[in-house]
């Protein structure tokens, strides 16, 4: 009987590792930006190439930076959620590696949940924010520090469970 004890224990440890591994989402790479100042940028506005936009403009507010693109399928899935919460949350859009006309048409067709939209045609700002799969959403506090990053389409559950409580907490601070 005792001779089976060691393999059994080893097997159970292995199962433990597998069980933990299966629960992790390998696509969710933790962002090193959390707790650091949001990378500065100055981009043109999507609707107005003459005007610019920068995270500085949002200083003093808790806001969301939502990275999207008209070619992004999951963004279409996320869009109704953004529209639903656009009244309660200040969301700034970052149109990532897109055509200006396509981006504008997309917002016209589906509705515009954004306070402002920045246009990042070559994806440079995306690289600064460590974007690797749109849509991605950052929560940025009053001091301009990145507090949270959500990878993939926002869902009502993710918003209610993680983002809204955090925004409320940061707003009180």
């Amino acid at each position: 009987m005792r001779r089976f004890l060691f393999p059994l224990v080893a097997f159970l440890i292995l199962i433990g590792f597998f069980a933990a591994g299966l629960r992790l989402n390998p696509r969710e790479v933790p962002s090193p930006l959390i707790g650091k100042p949001a990378p500065a940028f100055r981009l043109t506005q999507l609707h107005n190439p003459g005007a610019s936009i920068s995270p500085e403009d949002m200083k003093g507010k808790v806001w969301l930076l939502n990275v999207w693109a008209s070619w992004c399928v999951s963004c279409r899935q996320e869009h109704p959620v953004l529209l639903q919460y656009s009244q309660t949350l200040p969301i700034v859009g970052l149109d990532y590696k897109d055509e200006r006309a396509a981006g504008i048409a997309w917002l016209k067709d589906l509705g515009d949940p954004y306070l402002m939209s920045a246009f990042d045609s070559d994806g440079r700002v995306g690289i600064d924010y460590g974007v690797y799969g749109v849509p991605e959403t950052f929560v940025i506090d009053k001091q301009g520090v990145v507090r949270y990053k959500h990878i993939g389409p926002l869902t009502p559950t993710a918003l209610e469970k993680n983002i809204l409580p955090l925004v409320k907490e940061l707003d009180g601070a």
Binding site: S31, P32, L33
Partner: protein
């Protein structure tokens, strides 16, 4: 008929070749720089297709990052500075060789711990094995009879 079709297909392919070639990523004018870019991008993980390096990946982000690496090297940044730039944005995950630090010591030392554990177990088992006893004269006679009998039966 089949042959004709085959020839048409090949012809169509050769015609399509130049268009494909037109989409190839930027070919550097400087082969030395390109070699450095390739060498460095083999050490960096593509975040879109996570089991490929930036050098192998054809994901658009990988192309962008390779261009970024090329540009930074061209500006005279060292390999370490480029890596630091990417780690700052994407985290240690971009490195195929994770740095040795408190959170990764198990990753680095784990295999050696397993090896030492295995060796220790092996030696322990060997030590505990009962030594082989020489045969008693009685046993010897039995063995001989058995072997002898076997030989006869052949």
């Amino acid at each position: 008929m089949v042959r004709k079709l085959f020839i048409v297909c090949i012809a169509a392919l050769t015609w399509a070749m130049p268009t494909l070639a037109g989409e190839a990523p930027t070919v550097a004018e400087d082969p030395a720089l390109e070699a450095r870019v390739t060498k460095l991008s083999e050490e960096l993980r593509c975040l879109v297709c996570q089991n490929q390096s930036l050098a192998d990946s054809h994901a658009e982000l990988a192309q962008d990052l390779k261009n970024q690496v090329r540009e930074m090297l061209k500006q005279g940044m060292t390999e370490q500075q480029v890596v630091a730039f990417l780690v700052q944005r994407y985290g240690d995950f971009v490195l195929y060789r994770p740095p040795v630090k408190s959170t990764t010591w198990l990753l680095w030392l784990g295999p050696f711990l397993l090896l030492i554990g295995g060796l220790a177990l092996f030696i322990f088992k060997l030590k505990r094995r009962r030594p082989i006893q020489p045969l008693t004269p009685g046993e010897h006679a039995v063995a001989e009879a058995l072997l002898g009998g076997k030989e006869k039966s052949r």
